[in-house]
Each structure stands twice: as C-alpha cells, then as structure tokens.
C-alpha cells in the first residue's frame, strides 16, 4: 500500500480516496499494481448481467457507495450486489459442517462467498450469514414499485368509445352527440390487483375519475361519469354530450377525430406503506357531421 501511494505520488497523480483514472491499485494475489483508466462504469463481457433481468431489472441500479461507480447488479460466478457493503454475495456450493466459518451456527443460515470491488473498502472471503443479504436475487423493490406493477396487472384501458352517431352515418350540426363508454373493470372500474415478491405484497385499487373527450373541433367535454348509452328517440344526453357547430367536411376524411382520455385514480397499500397515483388511458374514434338539416321521425 505504501509503495502504491509512493508510485501514485511519483506519477504526480492527485491522490483521492475514490478510484480515479490514474490511480494505482494493487490487486490481491498478484505481483503487480495497475494504473486505472477512466471508469467505463459497467464491466463488460459475458460475465455480466446473466441470470435474467439482473442489471437493469425492475429499475434497480447498483452503485458502489465509496465511488459512485455504477456496476452490474449480478455477476455470473460472484452473485448479487449488496448495497450494504458494495460486495457481491453468493452462497457457497459446498455447505459442509466442518470449518470455523460457521461460528457454531451450523446448520442455520449459510456460508457465503463475498467478493468485493477493490474500492469498496472491505475485504471479501467466506462468511456466515443467517439470511440472504438485501438485494440478493434482485428482489430489492419498493412498495411504490410494486404498486406500479399492480397497476400494470389491471390492464386499464381508455374508454370503449360509443357515440349516438353510427360510424356509417352523419351527425348534424346543432344536434347533441351522446358520448359514453361501455362500463367494465378495465374501462371504468373499480378495479383491483395485488403484486407481490417474497415478503412484500401491495394491493392497488383503481377508479376512473373522468373522461376528457377531445371532439376534434377544438373543444373538449369533461364528463365525471361514463356517459349514458343512447336510446332511440333520445335528444339530450342526461350525462355527457357534445354539440358540433360546424360540419366536418373540411376535416381529413371528412370526419372529426375523437380522442377520449380516462383519468384513473389509484390508491395502494402494502408493506407498511400506502400512496396514490394517477394514470391516464386514451382511445380514439371519429365522427362525421353534416350541415343538412334532417327531420327526425319518431
């Protein structure tokens, strides 16, 4: 270590505690010390990221506490990164009772091989541990992240757009167009789902708050309900409608594009935490509006 420091000084490299390009690192079990280059962040090679969803899985990012260096969360042969000590942990294949490493605990817990980066500030080796370290198996996930997964499970959608003007007909300027959606668990709710990992479960419940209908003529209708299905002879919707002032003849395809966006309120709880979030889902359709006055016969 002294020699390394000396060499670093001779090289006139500014000494700093974290690894910096130009730092001299003496690796255990070798006869040499190496001059480190710019940290590329993630070690390359096929040894990295194996095991499925490791490195970037579930949004986990693994960072060496002492240097800020971003490293893979899983390395084949060395196991999973632990935020506790910035070392990789893997259970030893041969869990045999002999050996002082057990510290008398056999057969409780397990012997782990701990592999530390040179800058982690700790040495590795074999050690006994009662339970896997935090982050082992990549199951480090927060209740909020699980809530998001629960939301995904619900498969919420935008409205199933229903209009009082059938797609093959023209509506009429000045006559209300009824707007509604088919009501189901995925289009209006309520909906509920539970996402879990070992030791943690989060249940989320979603309810639609409103649908904003962008009618394509520059105006929107906001309805805090799913709307009312049109019935023959109906004129004014009791809940949700739009009155066009101009025909759609000047529009592309001679139709107004209709975009309906449902806002969902989601509440969740689990793992001693709770919270809420908002998600939106959008559907599109179109409607044709003509100028000709039409007599409606009942």
């Amino acid at each position: 270590m002294l020699t390394a420091a000396l060499v670093a000084a001779l090289l006139a490299v500014p000494a700093a505690l974290p690894a910096l390009p130009g730092d001299v690192t003496c690796l255990p079990g070798t006869t040499f010390c190496v001059v480190e280059v710019a940290q590329p962040g993630v070690p390359g090679g096929p040894g990295t990221g194996g095991g499925g969803g490791a490195g970037t899985g579930q949004g986990r990012q693994c960072v060496v506490a002492t240097t800020g260096e971003v490293v893979p969360c899983f390395l084949a042969g060395w196991g999973w990164f632990s935020d506790e000590d910035s070392c990789y942990w893997m259970p030893v294949a041969e869990q045999v009772p002999d050996g002082a490493v057990w510290e008398g605990h056999y057969p409780d817990g397990a012997i782990w091989a701990v592999t530390c980066l040179t800058h982690a500030g700790t040495n590795g080796g074999w050690t006994w541990r009662a339970a896997p370290p935090p982050g082992y198996g990549g199951i480090t996930v927060t209740p909020a992240q699980l809530a998001q997964r629960a939301v995904d499970q619900m498969a919420l959608t935008g409205p199933v757009i229903e209009l009082s003007i059938p797609a093959d007909r023209f509506g009429v300027v000045g006559v209300p167009v009824w707007l509604w959606t088919e009501v189901s668990a995925t289009t209006w709710g309520p909906n509920s789902a539970t996402a879990s990992v070992p030791g943690l479960a989060v249940t989320a419940t979603a309810r639609a708050r409103q649908i904003v209908w962008d009618m394509g003529d520059g105006r929107t209708e906001t309805c805090r309900n799913p709307g009312t299905a049109y019935h023959a002879g109906g004129v004014t919707s009791p809940t949700c409608q739009h009155i066009y002032e101009h025909p759609s003849g000047q529009q592309p395809d001679q139709a107004y594009p209709v975009t309906a966006t449902t806002t969902w309120d989601v509440t969740w709880s689990g793992g001693g935490a709770s919270g809420s979030l908002t998600v939106t889902r959008t559907s599109t359709s179109s409607v044709r509006i003509g100028e000709v006055q039409v007599l409606v016969t009942t």
């Binding site: 270590m1 002294l2 020699t3 390394a4 000396l6 060499v7 001779l10 090289l11 001299v24 690192t25 003496c26 690796l27 255990p28 079990g29 070798t30 006869t31 040499f32 010390c33 190496v34 001059v35 480190e36 280059v37 940290q39 590329p40 962040g41 993630v42 070690p43 390359g44 090679g45 096929p46 040894g47 990295t48 260096e69 490293v71 390395l75 084949a76 042969g77 060395w78 990789y88 030893v92 294949a93 041969e94 045999v96 002999d98 050996g99 002082a100 490493v101 091989a113 701990v114 592999t115 530390c116 980066l117 040179t118 040495n123 590795g124 080796g125 074999w126």
Partner: protein, 193 residues
C-alpha cells in the same frame, strides 16, 4: 520444517491406506502366523519412519498440487477477464483465496485490462498443522517479471512502474471436504525475494 512428532492425521491415514493397498495388490506371500503376530511390534521402528516420511511427502505433494492448480486457474482467468471463471477455481480455492480472484477479475474488467504471460513459482510447504482443522502453509517467491497487465485496447502495459516483481508470497492451505484447497494467499509487496 517437518515435525515428525506431529504427523497429520491425513498422513497417518495415507500410511494405513498404503499398507492396505500393498497387502491387497502385492503377490501376497503367505505371512507366517509368527510374522503376523510379531510384525507390528517387532518391526515397527525400522519400517514406519520411511512410511511417515513418504506420507508427509504425499501430503506436501497434494498441497503443492492445489497451490499450483490455484495459480494456473488465476493465470487463465486474468488472461481473459471477460470470461466467466472456470469451475476448477472452486476446486482449488476457498474463502479469500477464491474471492480475491473475483476482486481482481472485476477490476481488470472495468479497466479493460488482461494479464499476459505467467509467473514463475518456487513454492515450499513450510508447515503442516493438524487439529480441529488440518492446514498447511506454503511459502513462495513468486517471480512476476513475465506476468504483465496490459490494456486490451492499446496493448500497452498497465503496470504501475517501479514495482518489485519477485515477491514473497505466503499462502495457507486447508483440507476441505475431500481435497486440499488454498484458503488465503498474500503477496507481500514489502518483501522482495
């Protein structure tokens, strides 16, 4: 140095095994009843000493085999640190001797370094201890002058200049499960040899 008063249990077992092996595989001349009765007591002193010596030698050979195997795997891993470690590593190494290889490999990976050539070894088993755990100590003067880290991209040396390349290395071996393994291996950078 060897200590004949503290023959390891493993060595004793080897002596017995060797004796049994000889008895089973030899031409098997019929021992007379007298020889069979008197043999162990009468001829113990003159015949046992070379057997113990050979048993110790066998133990030392097994320890050195693990030691050389450990170095050979290390040289292979560092020659291409991007490859996964071969399973032999866990045959030859446990504990910090094992995880130190990972520490070095990860550093080589993140710096784009590989290590070419190989070191020269001159190991000696300097002590065997029996007890709750059977261990041995290996002292070596590792010559790393032909074992050089280089940057893969440029082929230029990654070695910090001005370092001694012949260094005293002290390792401990442990009899683990069914074999000798290296448990620790420390290169003393302050002890050129």
């Amino acid at each position: 140095m060897r200590n004949r008063g503290k023959t390891p249990r493993a060595a004793t077992a080897i002596v017995i095994a060797a004796a049994l092996l000889t008895a089973c595989t030899g031409p098997a001349p019929e021992p007379s009843p007298t020889e069979a009765m008197n043999g162990p007591t009468a001829s113990a002193t003159p015949t046992l000493t070379p057997s113990v010596d050979s048993a110790v030698a066998a133990t030392e050979a097994a320890v050195l085999e693990a030691y050389r195997g450990y170095w050979a795997v290390k040289v292979r891993v560092y020659a291409d640190p991007t490859q996964p470690v071969p399973p032999e590593l866990e045959v030859y190494a446990i504990d910090t001797a094992l995880t130190d290889v990972g520490t070095a490999q990860l550093t080589f990976q993140s710096n784009g370094i590989k290590v070419v050539g190989e070191p020269s070894l001159d190991p000696r088993v300097s002590g065997i201890v029996t007890g709750a755990e059977t261990t041995a100590t290996i002292t070596d003067c590792v010559d790393g002058s032909s074992w050089t880290p280089v940057y893969v991209a440029t082929g230029k040396s990654a070695a910090a200049p001005g370092m001694e390349s012949r260094l005293t290395t002290t390792s401990t071996a442990t009899y683990f499960v069914d074999r000798w393994t290296i448990q620790t291996s420390t290169v003393d950078r302050e002890a050129p040899c």
